[in-house]
Structure formats: structure tokens, C-alpha cells
């Protein structure tokens, strides 16, 4: 699960990590009022940012720096209700319903700070770089030595001295070291206490020196969180932050029926049991010259209802012009799934080619059920093995 930037800022702020003052708004009037408030506090710069999960906002024109109330009104008016199209959204874009109005901050230097899982060692890891403000992937590619990694002890967490040492290595100096180290420790414990899969501050900045803060202040400007879906049951506060408008509606519907579904760009719909077999089925479709339209794992206990819903979701994608069903019945009996396929196909109505490949428990009975149903579902054909099935569906749509 992902959350919006304004929610991420709130989580950081609640954990004692400094962020510039700001407020989420949903109307142009509120945007203007918040802007006035920030100017009145003595700031001279306000940043207005569209709150959508997709990246690429800056380039798309949905992050604006303003120096007057009029500019703020214009920017808010443009963004709210508009659809943002960026490299990450697809052509149809995402509707902007919320804005973040925050004080602009003068930046002396930018850093990158994140916590995520190091899968190879099975431990959480603090990742930091003195090259902030750019994509960490770019840094990793161009200058891998600039990325520092500190494993976080699974049982005792990140120690203060480890954080100070990392701050020193990153080039923080004087009073900045303690500020940066405190942020690192708080970020590490926030990450594990919220069951995050990633938390990323980019950029973490140092402000220019002032009389009150001669070494500047260390502040988080932008933050991203990803959360472990499997742990949401123990975080009702995070569940409440979920914004279903940001997700693919077909993927949400699939989840309600216990299906794991991911929409792709191709034309051949796939219905499979098991995640690995589902991925492999997409792969074999591609090997035979087709393009998979989706990943769909019906899970271990498919029923007539869930298979019907799966077919509805697959056929609801207008680009689909053929469907491949690949089931290896283990605990799930093939005859159960065959009956479900027949019932579902009758209910949904199939006007595109349907190729069914079943193997495993009770496969003979299942084949008989499909044979008997062929008159009712003229677009259906059966295949004896995976290669034959992939070839058949690709031929049928070619």
C-alpha cells in the first residue's frame, strides 16, 4: 500500500522528524487561505504540489513554486480537477483532488535517506547518499560509491553511534551531525513500527546558516512510504489512509474475490492457479508470439463465483481477444475448476477464443465436463499440455 505525500509528511512530523510547515487542501479557496497563512508567517516562497501517487509531477507541471497569492490561486485552479499525465500514469492520467501547500525552503545542500529490506541478508538497511534530490537509481548507476548502506540490527535497531558515523561519512558537520543522526534513528524505528516496506526521504536538506542555527537545520522535504500489505491488519491508522481512487479498479475488485490480478498491456487474458505458474503462463504466451493482457492467480481455492468474477475482469478489458486458462490441480480438483469454468463461461458469455489446459487431480473427469460443454461454449478448445495451449491461443488471436 502507498500513501500520499501529505500523509507521509504527517507520519514524519509525528515521529519528530522536522518538515516545513504545510497543509493539504481540496479547494482553490483553501489553497489561497493556506498560502496567505504561510506568507503571513514571514516566508517568501510557497510550493504547491498535486497529491497523486504517480511520480513525474514536476515535469508534468503539477509542482509549482509561487511568490504571490495570485500565482497560488492560478496554480491551484489549474491543478485541481485536472488530470495529470506523466511518464508513470499512462495516457489517461490521474485526476488531481488534493494539493499540498507548503512553505518553500532555501536549500544549502541535499541528501538522500531511506530504509528498506535488504533481501539478500534478510535485514532492514539504512541507505543514504550525499547526492540528494535526484533519483537514487541514477546515483546507483552513475556513482555507486556515493551510496552508503548500514544494516539495521533485526532485534535491537539502529544504534546512535552507527547513525552518527553515517552522518559523518555523508559530510554532515558540527551540529548537523546530531540532527541528521536523530532523523536516521527515528526513521529506522518508524519504518519497523509501521511495517513499512520502504520509507524514503528525498531530499533531506540542510538550510543555509542563520544566527539562530549557525550550522543550518536538517529538514525532510519530500517523503515516500510503501507498506507491507500483509501487516495492515495491525495498523488500522494506515488502512484509514488508503486512497482507493489511486488504484486500478479491476485490481481492487479482484482482491475482493481472493484473486491476485495485475493488468498488463497485451491482448491474451490469462487465468491460472499459483503465482509462479501464472507468471510462467504469461512468459509462454510471449514465447509463442502473443502478448499477455494480465497476471491472474485464482489462488488455491477457486469457486464458481471467483472464476466467474475472474472471467468478468479479464473480458472487461476491451483489448482482450483470447483467453488462456492454465490450471495445475493439486489440492484443487480439476473437475471442480472445470465445472466452474463451464458455469462461468455460460454466465459471462464468451465471444473470444477460450483455450483450457487442465492437469492434475481428477483431470479425466474434468476433461469430460469440458467435452460435454463444448456445444454450449463454441469458442472453447482444450489442450493437453502447456505448450499446446499457448500455441493454440496465440494462433486463435493471430
Amino acid at each position: 500500500m502507498k500513501i500520499h505525500e501529505y500523509q507521509a509528511r504527517q507520519l514524519l512530523s509525528d515521529a519528530g522528524i522536522p518538515v516545513p510547515p504545510g497543509q493539504m487542501v481540496e479547494t482553490v479557496e483553501d489553497a489561497v487561505a493556506e498560502t496567505k497563512k504561510i506568507f503571513a508567517s514571514g516566508e517568501s516562497l510557497v510550493v504547491i504540489k498535486a497529491q497523486v501517487h504517480a511520480g513525474g509531477r514536476g515535469k508534468a507541471g503539477f509542482v509549482k513554486l509561487v511568490r504571490s497569492v495570485e500565482e497560488a490561486r492560478e496554480a491551484a485552479d489549474f491543478m485541481l480537477g485536472n488530470r495529470m499525465v506523466s511518464v508513470q500514469t499512462g495516457a489517461e492520467g490521474i485526476e488531481v483532488k488534493r494539493l499540498l501547500i507548503a512553505a518553500g525552503v532555501d536549500i544549502e545542500k541535499e541528501y538522500y535517506l531511506a530504509v528498506t529490506l535488504d533481501r539478500n541478508n534478510g535485514v532492514n538497511t539504512l541507505i543514504a547518499s550525499a547526492e540528494g534530490g535526484v533519483e537514487i537509481e541514477t546515483v546507483a548507476h552513475d556513482n555507486p560509491d556515493a551510496i552508503h548502506k548500514v544494516p539495521i540490527h533485526p532485534l535491537s535497531g539502529l544504534e546512535a553511534f552507527e547513525a552518527r558515523a553515517l552522518a559523518k561519512r555523508l559530510g554532515f558537520h558540527g551540529r548537523q551531525i546530531q540532527q541528521a543522526a536523530t532523523i536516521m534513528q527515528r526513521l529506522a524505528s518508524l519504518y519497523s513500527s509501521l511495517d513499512a516496506s520502504i520509507v524514503e526521504i528525498n531530499p533531506l536538506i540542510v538550510t543555509p546558516p542563520t544566527d539562530a542555527a549557525p550550522d543550518g537545520r536538517v529538514i525532510a522535504i519530500d517523503a515516500k512510504f510503501g507498506f507491507d500489505d500483509n501487516a495492515l491488519y495491525r495498523h488500522p491508522e494506515l488502512k484509514a489512509m488508503h486512497d482507493p481512487a489511486e488504484e486500478n479498479p479491476a485490481e481492487i475488485r479482484a482482491e475482493e474475490f481472493g484473486l491476485s490480478y495485475v493488468a498488463l498491456d497485451g491482448t491474451i487474458g490469462c487465468l491460472v492457479n499459483g503465482a509462479g505458474l501464472a507468471m510462467s503462463t504469461m512468459d509462454i504466451v510471449k514465447l509463442h508470439g502473443g502478448e499477455p493482457a494480465n497476471f491472474l492467480d485464482v489462488g488455491g481455492s477457486a469457486t464458481k463465483e471467483s472464476v466467474t468474477e475472474a472471467f468478468r475482469i479479464i473480458l472487461g478489458d476491451g483489448r482482450v481477444n483470447g483467453v488462456l486458462v492454465n490450471i495445475f490441480g493439486g489440492i484443487m480438483r480439476c473437475d471442480t475448476i472445470a465445472s466452474a469454468i463451464v458455469a462461468a463461461a455460460k454466465e459471462v458469455g464468451f465471444d473470444v477464443p477460450l483455450v483450457v489446459r487442465l492437469e492434475g487431480t481428477e483431470v479425466d473427469a474434468a476433461r469430460q465436463i469440458l467435452e460435454d460443454a463444448k456445444a454450449d461454449i463454441p469458442s472453447m478448445q482444450t489442450a493437453r499440455n502447456l505448450a499446446e495451449a499457448a500455441a493454440a491461443v496465440c494462433d486463435a488471436v493471430a
Binding site: G122, G276, F295, L386
Partner: protein, 317 residues
Amino acid sequence: MAILVDGNTKVLCQGITGSTGAFHTKGCLAYGTQMVGGVTPGKGGTHDANGLPIFDTVREAVDGTGADATMIFVPPPFAADAILEAAEAGLHVICAITEGIPVQDMVRVRAILREYPRSVLIGPNCPGVITPGRRVSGEGPDSVIEGGCKIGIMPGYIHTAKADASTGKAVGVISRSGTLTYEAVWQTSVLGIGQTTCVGIGGDPVRGTGFIDLIERFEGDPETDGIIVIGEIGGTDEIEAAYWIKEHAKKPVAAFIAGRTAPPGKRMGHAGAIIGGTEDTADAKIAAFKACGVDVAESPADLGTTMAKALGLEVTI
């Protein structure tokens, strides 16, 4: 011979009174596994539908039955605790079938399990482990099997013991995916190749035993003639396994990697199957295997034939 488990292994089921645990306990008994009891806190002193004794704690179950392995069907919020309880009770093989355990729970479990080097954790989010037994009568799902050990949810009858294999060969199977393992087992069985032991290591990002540990065990098992390795997108375990194979493995290895067509950044069913950097794509893993002299099946339909060829067998299909 086989690895990890055999016909003498005594097995517990943690979560035996839940519907899934009860169902699969029955399935394992039907395969001939020596199921000796179960654990459900609060139900100690009773028996399950098969007459197996139920205990309140794993320690009591081990003391009462002499069990050396367990399969865990405990719901995700309590599964990490169940794994640690099994390790503390001294069980050697711990199969965590449960899907959906929070990653941070497994980070803790993995750290604590270092204190129990004799325990091997398989999974979580996996089909389990099976050492096929010999078929004494019947066919298909009605086969009567003897001397095997099935711990988990896989369909037992698709497996073939080495003694029943027409080619006289048997392979070890290691996989991150359940149904794809069945596919590999089925394809090898159809080709007359048996399996010594099949291990589903699970689809989660933080798990117990991995490819290298199991390849090493199969290398040391005289009955195992070759090894099938089934990986997928996410993580870099397969790449490390590929280089380990190049350095140390003497037996032929056939590999398949699922997810060549998976888009980056999207989770494909398995929590571990998400493409992050460049090293964890299917193409990077396939390239690493090929560079290390491992035969890679281009298609999931070629798992069996790729293994057969690597074993030097004539393939006629």
C-alpha cells in the same frame, strides 16, 4: 536416500484444528507420512478426526511423540511465533505453509533462528517438502504409496520414487513457486524421471532455507542424479546460486526463471516477486545461469526435457 525427510520422519501439524491444517493432515496421512500429532493451544489432551493426539505446546508434542518435523498452518499473525516455538522445541525440519506473514516478523524470526542451527526452516508461503515413496498399488490420485514423506499441500501422486522411475534416474527439485513445482514434477514423472526430494522454499522475500543450502544437500545425496532449480523475479538468490553451482556443483542442473514478461515495480502475486533493480529481473537471472553452465528451460513447458537432456537421457516426446 533423500534430503531433509524420509519415511522415518515423524511429523507434527501446528494449527491442526483449523480447517486447512486438518485437511492437509489428512492428505499427508493418506500419502503415508508418519503424522504423529498436532498442536493447538487450549485443545491439548483431545484428538483430531484421525485419532492423532493434540497438544497445547510444541514442546509437549515433541516429548509425547518423538516428532522431528512440523508443518505450520497457523494464521499469519501467529505464524512467526509458531516457527520460533518449533525451533525452541528442537524440531529439525520446520515447514511454514502459511501465506501472508508480515515481512518484519520474518526479519525477526530469521535473526533468532541463528541460535538454532539444527533447525531448517522451509518457507514460509510454500507448498512444503516431499520425499516420494514407492507406489505399491493403484493409479493416479488413488495410488497407495509406502515409505515416503509428504509434509505440505502438494498433490502426492504426481511424484515418482527413484525405484519406480523407468529411466532409473531421480532429481531434486527446489522452487520458489508451488504450482510451477508441480509442473516440473509432472513433466519429469511423465519422462520416467523420479524425484528424490522436492522442496518449495516459498515466495516471500525473507525466508528460511534457500537455493544454495539445498543444492549443497542434493550434491551430497548419492541418490540424486540432477537438480531442477525454479526461480522467479525479485531478489538475487538465483544469481548467487548460479555462481555457487559453477564453483562447486558436480551434478547437472536445469533451471527455469518465471516472470520474463513481468512489468517492473509490480507485485506478481508472491510478495517477493517484484522487480526492483537490474539484477533481480528474469533476464539477469537467466543470463547468470547460462554464464555458469546451467541449462535453462526457455519455456515452462520444457522443464522436464531440459532436465532429461542435462542427465544425458534420450527424449522422445
